[in-house]
């Protein structure tokens, strides 16, 4: 910019000052000579001094011309002395001619100097504009290009400024397709130059320009300003065009990768995630984007497809249903899936379509899409194995893919591949975990004739491995055993210990003459296990006693169960005993109580009492409160579940298990006891 200012100030100096002084000096000499001649001759030639100022005006500056003019006027005025003709009319006429001539000469000099100054300024400005890195074009009222600099010619894809200026305005717009940043077409009415000519102020506009012939995509920011005349009418439009293709491509790539990565890591539902990724790619990167994955039967299934026009998405879906591709197909997606190498077809020739698609109807459908350029990249798992493909297609925008886009697409394919693989692994693991978890719980509570039994189990966290809480109910020689337990630890190790505990306990209870001898037996088994294997259990041995039942309770490090009698208060049953697996030997107190029909016995884990809400922990008192007046087993557990639901705040922190058992009313019991003893 400072260069420009220097150039302008130099331009203001006008012509070469040396030549001006030479001209002025010569003119002054001529005046002196003419004055001498005038004085020595009879006939007055004073009027001839009017000529030198005009000569000076041709070459010298305004001031130099003024000096010459002043000298000429002085000579003309003084000529009366030596011609002795002050009184003559001729004298006045001659003096007037020289005075007027001098003034004209000065004015002429000024006009000439200014004109040459302006011309020099124009030349300098033009030179400056030509050297600008920014592309500048100037259009007149008819949108004809009247000026363009070198950068403009280069930016607009012309070999020279002359070539650019030689193109008609219509041809210029015809060879390029313009789009807004969001992909919508830029109509001629929206061209910044038109709006400026209409007198509007136009903010800089980011435009995607696609050369219809080469398919090359460029991003430009156009800043248009009007040049107004004295009457305020816009005569010219100056547009500065910034080619921001590189920045824009980097920005698009970054956005797609960043948002794609975000989407890919946000969810384990990979089909939905892939749809999001496909939608990110259109229209910034491609007109179409589709994701396909092979299924078990060798069909390459389209799992996601995106286009900015929903109708076209529908078209793609129905097309892929009608003409499904198979992993055995030649070329295309199948090929990419097989060898894991991406494909870029910059400009799809019609012959390719002819060769690739045999069915003329299918070919016609494909042709209607107007595919111009395609990229197919593999979605690769961490091992490098392709697990699907992502296709990017350019059609109506006329863009042609280049290596730059290919790199971006490949990166997207890699990231998507890893995300999909992780999601699949996670889903598989999740299924394994759930399968194991189901195996660790009794598949269903057994039918216990003579009793009604109900269970509640809530592992903490949706995707959690099995928690440490468990329950079981099984028949023994002369009755039933129900048990609720809590294994210390977390994750797979705790799950394994839970399974061990439950099965050792069940087997021991069924093999021992006294089923409750399973407690010391399990304690020894846990104690002898390497590492820490701790667990608490509450078990109840149930035997029919006529219409009632005798319940013998052992608590091993576990909270006492509650009994609710005749829909009254909940009272704890049993005595505390030591936790299992910590110390050996051990002794556990057996407490027997009679359950009459209508009594409900409730076993639970600390997940119930430790549940927290706004007022702290749920606690024993609240549990007793909700259990009071329980009418049967189902009712008791419903009360616990409702009580926890009302009380709890935030995420459930711990596993929760509860089991309720009640002696059935005599009417339903007679046959049951027989079955019970048969078991």
């Amino acid at each position: 910019m400072s260069d420009l200012r220097v150039a302008v100030s130099r331009a203001g100096a006008g012509d070469d000052p040396g030549r001006g002084w030479a001209a002025a000096g010569a003119a002054l000499l001529a005046i002196v000579a003419l004055t001498v001649l005038d004085a020595s001759w009879d006939e007055g030639i004073a009027a001839t001094v009017v000529v030198p100022p005009f000569v000076a005006a041709l070459f010298a500056s305004t001031r130099q011309t003024a000096v010459v003019a002043a000298a000429a006027i002085a000579s003309a005025l003084l000529s009366g002395i030596w011609n002795d003709n002050f009184a003559d009319a001729g004298y006045f006429v001659r003096a007037a001619v020289v005075i007027l001539g001098g003034i004209f000469a000065v004015l002429a000099a000024r006009t000439r100097v200014e004109a040459s100054r302006a011309e020099a300024l124009g030349e300098q400005l033009t030179a400056a504009l030509s050297n600008l890195a920014e592309a500048v074009v100037v259009q007149d009222r008819d949108q004809r290009l009247v000026y363009a600099n070198d950068a403009a010619a280069a930016t607009l894809g012309f070999p020279s400024v002359e070539a650019l200026l030689g193109v008609a305005p219509d041809d210029l717009t015809a060879r390029t397709a313009f789009y807004h940043e969001d992909g919508s077409p830029l109509t001629p009415e929206q061209y910044p130059s038109r709006l400026v000519l209409a007198g509007e102020d136009v903010p800089p506009l980011c435009i995607r320009a696609i050369d219809r012939e080469t398919g090359e995509e460029r991003w430009r920011v156009n800043k248009a300003r009007g040049v107004r005349d004295a009457r305020g009418e816009t005569r010219l439009v100056v547009t500065v065009i910034d080619d921001v293709t590189d920045q824009k491509r980097a920005e698009v790539a970054q956005r797609i990768l960043a948002r794609g990565g975000e989407a890919l890591s946000s969810s384990l539902n990979y089909e939905r995630t892939l749809q999001e990724v496909a939608e990110l790619a259109v229209p910034a990167l491609a007109d179409w984007c589709g994701v396909s994955m092979p299924d078990r039967h060798g069909t390459i299934e389209q799992v996601a497809v995106a286009h900015s026009d929903p109708k076209k998405v529908e078209f793609a879906r129905s097309y892929s249903k009608r003409y499904p591709s198979r992993t055995s197909d030649e070329g295309g997606a199948a090929q990419v899936l097989r060898d894991g190498a991406s494909q870029l077809v910059a400009d799809i020739p019609d012959e390719l379509l002819e060769a690739a698609v045999e069915d003329p109807e299918q070919r016609e459908l494909l042709r209607s899409v107007g595919m111009r350029s395609v990229i197919i990249v593999p979605m690769t798992a961490a091992s490098g194995r392709p697990i699907g493909v992502i296709s990017f297609i350019n059609a109506e925008s006329g863009r042609v893919f280049t290596e730059t886009e290919l790199e971006l697409c490949e990166e997207l394919g890699r990231r998507a591949g890893i995300a999909v693989e992780n999601a699949r692994l996670y889903t598989e693991r999740s299924i394994i975990a759930h399968t194991l978890q189901r195996a660790l719980l009794p598949p269903a509570l057994p039918a216990m004739p003579g009793y009604s039994l109900s269970a509640l189990y809530r592992p903490a966290g949706e995707e959690n491995w099995v928690g440490g809480d468990f329950y079981d109910a099984f028949a023994v020689r002369d009755g039933w055993v129900v048990v609720v337990g809590d294994v210390a630890g977390r994750g797979a190790k705790a799950a394994a210990l839970t399974a061990f505990t439950r099965h050792v306990f069940r087997t021991a209870a069924q093999l021992h003459d006294d089923p409750l001898d399973a407690v010391p037996y399990l304690n020894k088994q846990l104690y002898d296990r390497p590492g820490s294997a701790l667990c608490t259990v509450c078990c109840v041995y149930l035997r029919a006693r006529g219409p009632d039942a005798e319940a013998t309770v052992i608590c091993a490090g576990h909270p006492q169960p509650y009994v609710v009698r005749e829909a009254g208060d909940a009272e704890p049953v049993g005595r505390w005993g030591q936790m299992l697996g910590a110390w050996t030997p051990g002794e556990w107190t057996r407490t027997s109580t009679t359950l009459t029909p209508g009594d409900v016995l409730v076993l639970y884990t600390d997940g119930v009492t430790d549940a927290h809400g706004a007022d702290g922990r749920f606690g024993d008192e609240r549990l007793r409160g909700v259990l009071a007046e329980s009418s049967d087993a189902d009712d008791a557990l419903r009360r616990i579940a409702d009580g926890l639901a009302d009380f709890e705040q935030g995420e459930q922190a711990d596993d929760t298990a509860a089991l309720a058992i009640a002696r059935s009313r005599p009417a339903a019991e007679a046959s049951g006891d027989q079955l019970g003893s048969a078991a």
């Binding site: 440490g468 210390a488 505390w576 910590a582 110390w583 922190a653 711990d654």
Partner: protein
């Protein structure tokens, strides 16, 4: 992701009082924090033959927390092993020790420094 009761900030302070290592826990010992307490206790046992677990500021323990105390207690079970003591937890926590049969097997002191040999 374990939800916490407001105001129940968890912290562990480990310091030596003479030859006794004192591990003072504040807050709740549960699934979320048990491993941290376990690790600090293990470190204390590596440095000293006498370890005191100060539970006076522990407001809650679950099975995971109890397992940590039992594991520490079991180190001393063989007689010749290190000495381990606790300073009594608040009653509702101490009740859990009674429930699981741990209390009679523990050395319980009022002042952590008093556990010094």
């Amino acid at each position: 992701m374990i939800a916490r009761i407001p105001g129940s900030e968890f912290s562990i302070a480990v310091h030596a009082e003479g030859s006794v290592e004192i591990v003072a826990v504040r807050g709740e010992i549960d699934l979320a924090t048990a491993d941290a307490v376990r690790a600090d206790l293990r470190g204390a046992f590596e440095r000293s033959e006498s370890v005191v677990l100060d539970l006076r500021e522990v407001g809650f323990m679950d099975t995971q927390g109890l397992a940590v105390v039992i594991e520490a207690q079991q180190r001393t079970a063989e007689g010749a092993g290190p000495r381990f003591a606790i300073t009594r937890a608040p009653d509702h926590v101490h009740r859990l020790f009674d429930m699981i049969g741990l209390t009679p097997r523990l050395t319980i002191v009022d002042d952590p420094a008093a556990a010094a040999p």
